[in-house]
């Protein structure tokens, strides 16, 4: 057996299998700490309660049954779903930041996997467990406070790919922030700004179609809406045209961010100095 054979890349199935194993490991790890996630999820109860009050008061003051197509119940379910997405974000930037600063990144780079691929699998596992728990908590509270809303099977089925796309986008955005650690001493400020951009311009607190013009025209072109508003609105107010447009937007944005993240990662790792010992 020659060294070339040993170094040869495996089949696509074998390569994906590695990341599948990491994902399963991450899911198992996070299920082991599900109690902590549930405890954190309790904050969601408070947030939903506050937003129920906010929207009840707003609709009451305006004396209108719907705003931008949302009635109070739809608005609250939209918020709960959007918050479940936000609160499930595993903060991959923090891992990258720590590994770059501590030098652990060098240890990872010589492993037979893509560093970003490994992180993506780990991130997805963590996100999956957190999202399911947060959504369960949010749904119970919504049922208690505003009752159920009709969600059609097409809405449910089409939301799944949009949710996957939203997770991919958030992962890439988070990575780009974390990779700044190659050049800056502290990524804290960038992280804060990124998180708040996703929260606000992603449409978590206020659906993007309720933003006043001309801000609405601008935020609809930014990638943040595809991370939160897209899947959340698709679930509660399903519209095939909106779904199609959001799919295209997510695909284009993922392609751009993926390329960008790859370039930044390569540029960053060129700065890594390895000293044996």
């Amino acid at each position: 057996m020659t060294i070339d054979v040993l170094r040869a890349r495996g089949s696509w199935g074998a390569r994906l299998g590695k990341y599948g194993a990491v994902l399963r490991m991450s899911v198992a790890n996070n299920i082991a700490y599900a109690g902590e996630t549930v405890l954190r999820g309790l904050f969601l109860i408070l947030l939903i309660y506050v937003f129920v009050q906010l929207w009840h008061t707003t609709y009451g003051v305006l004396g209108v049954p719907t705003l931008g197509g949302f009635d109070v119940a739809h608005m609250v379910w939209y918020f709960a779903f959007a918050e479940a997405i936000i609160m499930s974000s595993p903060r991959s930037w923090g891992k990258i930041d720590r590994e770059v600063k501590s030098g652990d990144l060098a240890y990872r780079l010589n492993k037979p996997y893509s560093y970003l691929g490994y992180l993506a699998a780990e991130d997805t596992g963590e996100r999956l467990v957190r999202f399911v728990l947060n959504l369960a908590i949010g749904s119970v509270i919504c049922l208690l406070l505003v009752g159920p809303i009709p969600i059609s099977p097409p809405a449910l089925l089409t939301t799944l790919p949009l949710l996957a796309g939203a997770w991919a986008l958030d992962f890439l955005g988070s990575c780009l922030v974390g990779l700044l650690a190659f050049w800056v001493e502290d990524t804290f400020a960038f992280t804060f700004i990124y998180n708040r951009l996703v929260l606000l311009l992603g449409g978590t607190l206020l659906p993007l179609n309720l933003f006043p013009e001309p801000i609405r025209g601008v935020v609809e072109w930014l990638p943040f809406g595809a991370m939160v508003y897209g899947p959340a609105r698709n679930l509660v107010l399903f519209d095939p045209v909106f779904f199609g447009a959001m799919c295209i937007r997510q695909a284009v944005t993922i392609a751009v961010l993926l390329t960008f993240a790859g370039l930044v990662f390569r540029a960053g790792t060129r700065q890594v100095n390895l000293n044996g010992g």
Binding site: F43, T58, V61, D186, A189, P212
Partner: protein, 290 residues
């Protein structure tokens, strides 16, 4: 050359240079306590400045974070101008006072939201071994740099948008101190639950998030039982709602109520901490604070 590591603990940094003065007996020594707090804050600030880029990054990160929240409310009130008599200026006032108070309670007294972790981890031994007021020493041993950004934000917002006449500046400063006292008392009390519960870190974090959330949403949203809770168990009303009402229309009785509640909540926090401290058992953990 003095290394930065040598300066990363207040106790360590101060012990060498002014140990005699700082190790004065605690009872009835208010000026000594004040000097201790002043010196600790100065040293903590110097530590922060040693890592200048990180310091600036954290302060401006938090400023940007708070500004984003304000943008949400600006967008909201542009779309829906009045919320049961509560307008954009009232929400800005709430955020300004909460930011300024938070900057003091968590920024200057940086361990205030770490009490549960410190107790559960057995790290209290370090403070017990030194001849200082345990709670005071614990609180001032760390500065939360990011929270200083909140303070800057609060004052900046007030001075820029909220009609800062000399009288209102004095009132705002006094109310920010009251708000900080309420936060500090609450944080000490819930952090001290670790004396009874063991690991109360998650609970403390949830309660802390809760009180901040309740402090930053308009008062008309809360009625009945929830409003009752905000007056008592989770005293968010006195962190931002009551100060906002006072800055809107000054009322001496309202100010007295605010002052009284600030003193009461802080007292409750201190009493709960020292009651709990009787139950504390050393874990024989060797804590190195270098």
């Amino acid at each position: 050359m003095e290394s930065t590591a040598d300066k990363t603990s207040v106790g360590g940094a101060l012990a060498g240079e002014s140990a005699g003065r700082l190790r004065a007996p605690t009872a009835g020594r208010v000026p000594a306590h004040l000097r201790f707090v002043r010196d600790a804050l100065v040293v903590n600030f110097q530590i922060g400045l040693e890592y200048r880029a990180s310091f600036i990054s954290q302060v401006f990160g938090m400023l940007a974070n708070d500004t984003m929240w304000i943008l949400f409310w600006v967008l909201y009130f542009q779309r829906f101008p009045v919320l049961q008599g509560w307008g954009i200026n009232d929400v800005l006032t709430q955020w300004a006072i909460t930011g300024a108070g938070f900057g003091i309670a968590v920024g200057l007294f940086g361990n205030s939201n770490q009490i549960a972790r410190i107790i559960a981890g057995g790290e209290l031994d370090y403070y017990l071994a030194l001849p200082k007021n345990v709670l005071l020493h614990l609180l001032v041993s760390r500065m939360d740099l990011a929270a200083l950004g909140d303070n800057l934000f609060g004052w900046g917002l007030f001075l820029t948008f909220l009609h800062p006449t000399p009288e209102r500046i004095v009132l705002f400063g006094a109310l920010a101190l009251c708000s900080a006292a309420v936060m500090l008392g609450f944080l000490i009390a819930v952090g001290s639950l670790a004396f009874w519960l063991g690991n109360a870190e998650g609970l403390t974090m949830q309660l802390f998030n809760g009180i901040i959330t309740f402090s930053t949403y308009p008062s008309p949203l809360f009625h009945g039982l929830v409003k009752g809770i905000l007056f008592t168990a989770v005293p968010a009303w006195f962190i931002s709602h009551q100060p906002t009402l006072l800055l809107r229309a000054f009322d001496p009785a309202g100010l007295l109520l605010e002052l009284g509640m600030a003193a009461a909540v802080l007292t409750v926090g201190v009493v709960v901490f020292y009651r709990g401290l009787r139950r504390y058992e050393s874990g024989n953990l060797l804590v190195l604070r270098a």
